[in-house]
């Protein structure tokens, strides 16, 4: 037997410490505040990730992207001659992720809405729009559709931030934002 037997107190009947009760109450209310902030942002905030997603075959997604590229390419850019595509505002635009590139480069008008479709041809990738710092996970077989409104004329990088094998760090794409016509 223990030299020090446990103190036989009935702990479940003891009164609570006042400072503890106050803190539990504050912490609980704070949890509610954080919960409602997320809900509230869905109604009033402008940055909410779309819930629109479809299962899709990678080939189907590639065909749709190619159709857009065929129709709206305005020039080529970069060492590998990536097409730069300028679809009309309000339209459906596609960007596909594959080992190890984002394809194609998009040219979008400032302040206009676009329906951006994202999917992967092979493994998971991470769509990381910089320096805005918007980060979205891209899966093969899933097409995510979101409405995006570019703000601020300039060049934006699309870094892959989901590890996707040995070429992961070479996987950079681009979005140009130009002044609206």
């Amino acid at each position: 037997m223990a030299i020090h037997p446990p103190e036989k107190r009935i702990w479940w009947n003891e009164p609570l410490e006042k400072s503890e009760v106050t803190w539990i109450t504050i912490a609980f209310i704070w949890g509610l505040v954080m919960f409602f902030t997320m809900v509230f942002w869905h109604f009033t905030g402008e940055q909410n990730l779309s819930n629109e997603a479809y299962r899709i075959h990678p080939e189907t997604f590639a065909e749709r992207t190619e159709a857009m590229v065929d129709q709206y390419t305005v020039r080529e850019e970069g060492e590998t001659g990536l097409p730069v595509v300028r679809p009309p505002p309000g339209s459906d635009v596609y960007m596909l992720a594959r080992l190890w590139e984002w394809w194609p480069i998009l040219e979008l008008e400032e302040g206009k809405d676009y329906r951006l479709h994202l999917s992967s041809m092979d493994w998971q990738h991470g769509f990381s729009l910089q320096p805005e710092n918007i980060n979205i996970q891209i899966h093969p077989g899933y097409e995510l559709v979101l409405t995006l409104t570019p703000e601020g004329v300039g060049e934006y990088g699309v870094v892959c931030n989901e590890y996707c094998g040995i070429g992961h760090h070479q996987m950079v794409g681009k979005i140009h934002v130009v002044a609206a016509e």
């Binding site: 223990a2 030299i3 020090h4 446990p6 103190e7 036989k8 107190r9 702990w11 479940w12 003891e14 609570l16 410490e17 400072s19 503890e20 803190w23 504050i26 912490a27 704070w30 949890g31 954080m34 919960f35 902030t37 997320m38 942002w41 869905h42 905030g45 940055q47 909410n48 990730l49 779309s50 997603a53 850019e77 970069g78 990536l82 590139e101 480069i105 092979d122 998971q124 991470g126 710092n133 918007i134 980060n135 996970q137 899966h139 093969p140 077989g141 899933y142 097409e143 979101l146 409405t147 409104t149 570019p150 990088g157 870094v159 931030n161 590890y163 760090h169 070479q170 950079v172 681009k174």
Partner: protein, 574 residues
């Protein structure tokens, strides 16, 4: 060997010694298992920490040590060796301590416990071999459809099965203790915390089996397809709840150290036990906060799971965040350190590495890991941080500054009590928690800083020198990564100090005989009794703790809303 094979249905005739420091009856078989699990844990910390240093040096832009292939290999090995193998081996040691030792009981079926140990060891070695062979640089998350070699998954499965066996031995020991009446009333709070950890472990390991077994079959070609989103949902059922094991375990360690070093008792048993219960009830389903920016998962599900589940479990941690320092303050005030608001803290045993490590762990877990975790886990804010360096910044605050530092701290008590050796290199040991704490606090902060500036995690080259199109992160991002490297070296140094002290003491330290233990008791009067018993401290004024908690809360609220402000400034999307 302590255990004698049992005959028929008779209970095993265990051999015991009486601990001169605590008066507890120590089952020698349990003691041996605790030693071996702890030693193996430390070995994996050493290996994994070395990989961590290599990774940090590679991500330091001015050093950029490893070539790309080695970097991804080292990162996979780092994650697996420290997060899985170091932490879980040590937790098994804690489970045996909190059951057999604290309850004065013999360990149930030491043979099974050894089976668990060998399975875990074999699994951990197999997974390491797979990673080092180079065909399994898939990160420890191993998201499909990227594929590792079959023996990588097999290693993880063996490890998980071994851990499950160990958890079963823990529960068996609780049953025996109850049956044989080795303790009276309720189990001590520390054991209660360990039970919380073990219950969550069962859930965790089951999720792990559900996802890793089909993945293994897929890697050998028996299954053709695994859905990548489904994989993540189930994988994080394991990955996230195993973090909850860590939190339960290290909070139990905080209470244990506060009790052993200062004789501290919880302010009220009811509140502290209730807070552990919250972990069991709510955190398993909070895995959603790893899936906030995945396609095909609804916002309602995300919000429900992060807030209902996560915030109630966070509430558990917030409660411990007051109860643990409150218990310390109460104990110190009872000793007469009652001047002003903070005399109790100033006069705390800062030269005792068990205490300093524990207190640094408490503070950094709250301020660095805790606040950042809740912010990162807010549905929309996650858009700003997902897969950036913010994520490793956050969890080096939880699992390194929090769990690892707490485990290091209790080692300074485990070595004399269980290994029965004196701590060698006392000065080195005294400095160790500070060096490691400062280093880890730094890497946590600077990784979060880099992540706020957009830097990607798991990334070999943030200059993108081989990319077809150019992109530059801002200069401050490079500065952050450089500082992360500097503090990475510091934390590696702190880790090395720990290894030197532990290995030195365990293998070459002076034996701690009974006479010696009697002459120089390790624990103050009441220290041991406070861990092995239950009962509340009762009413006392705690101005210091209330001030600390108030500072914490204000920092939390401000930082939370600052991030919503950041979010409101990025491109509108819906």
């Amino acid at each position: 060997m302590a255990s004698i094979a049992h005959t028929g249905s008779l209970p095993r005739a265990a051999e015991f010694r009486t601990c001169p420091d605590t008066g507890l009856r120590v089952d020698l078989a349990a003691e041996k298992l605790i030693r071996w699990n702890a030693v193996v844990a430390v070995v994996f910390l050493a290996i994994g920490g070395l990989f961590g240093l290599l990774v940090a040096l590679t991500r330091w832009p001015a050093v950029h040590l490893l070539p790309a292939e080695w970097f991804y290999l080292a990162l996979t090995a780092h994650g697996a060796d420290v997060l899985l193998f170091w932490v879980i081996f040590f937790e098994i040691a804690i489970l045996y301590f909190a059951s057999a030792i604290l309850l004065n009981c013999r360990l149930a079926t030491p043979r099974m416990a050894w089976l668990g140990f060998w399975l875990m060891l074999a699994g951990a070695l197999l997974a390491n071999v797979a990673v080092l062979q180079g065909e399994s640089s898939v990160m420890f998350t191993s998201y499909v459809p990227m594929q590792a070699a079959p023996h990588f998954y097999l290693g993880l499965i063996l490890f998980a099965v071994g851990a499950l066996v160990a958890v079963a031995v823990f529960f068996g020991t609780l049953v025996i203790a109850k049956d044989e009446g080795t303790y009276e009333g309720s189990v001590p709070l520390v054991t209660f915390g360990a039970i919380a950890a073990a219950v969550i472990a069962v859930f965790t390991i089951t999720s792990g089996a559900i996802i890793l077994i089909p993945t293994f079959l897929w890697s050998i070609g028996l299954i053709s397809h695994i859905d990548p989103v489904m994989y993540k949902v189930v994988w994080w059922g394991m990955g996230h709840s195993s973090q909850q094991i860590n939190v339960s375990a290290h909070v139990a360690v905080w209470y244990a150290i506060a009790a052993m070093v200062l004789g501290a008792k919880p302010l009220s048993e009811k509140v502290s036990r209730f807070a552990f219960l919250m972990y069991i009830l709510f955190l398993q389903i909070a895995a959603a906060h790893h899936l906030l920016v995945e396609p095909g998962i609804s916002s309602e599900w995300k919000i429900f799971n992060t807030s209902y589940a996560l915030y109630l479990a966070v509430l558990g941690s917030l409660i411990h965040g007051l109860s643990v320092p409150g218990a310390i303050e109460a104990a110190q005030r009872r000793r007469g350190y009652t001047k002003g608001v903070f005399e109790w803290l100033r006069k705390a045993p800062w030269g005792n590495p068990a205490f300093s490590g524990m207190f640094l762990s408490l503070v950094m877990f709250g301020f660095l890991g805790g606040i950042s975790g809740v912010v990162l886990g807010s549905e929309q804010i996650n858009l700003l941080m997902h897969n950036t360096m913010y994520v490793p910044g956050h969890f080096h605050g939880t699992v390194v500054a929090g769990t690892t530092l707490a485990f290091m701290a209790i080692t300074y008590l485990v070595v004399p009590l269980i290994f029965r050796r004196e701590i060698m290199f006392k000065k080195l040991a005294q400095w160790q928690p500070y060096v490691f704490g400062l280093g880890v606090g730094g890497i946590s902060l600077f990784m979060m800083g880099a992540g706020t500036l957009g830097v990607s995690r798991r990334h070999w080259d943030i200059t993108f020198s081989d990319a077809p199109v150019a992109f530059d992160y801002p200069g401050t991002a490079f500065l952050m990564m450089g500082l992360n490297g500097v503090f990475g070296v510091l934390s590696a140094l702190g880790g090395l100090m720990y290894i030197v002290v532990v290995v030195g003491s365990v293998f070459f330290g002076e034996r701690r005989t009974e006479e010696k233990a009697k002459a120089e008791p390790l624990l103050p009067q009441g220290g041991a009794a406070a861990v092995a018993s239950y009962g509340s401290e009762g009413t006392l004024k705690l101005p210091g703790t209330i001030t600390l908690v108030a500072i914490f809360f204000v920092a939390f609220v401000l930082y939370y809303f600052v991030n919503w402000k950041f979010l409101s400034e990025v491109w509108p999307l819906s």
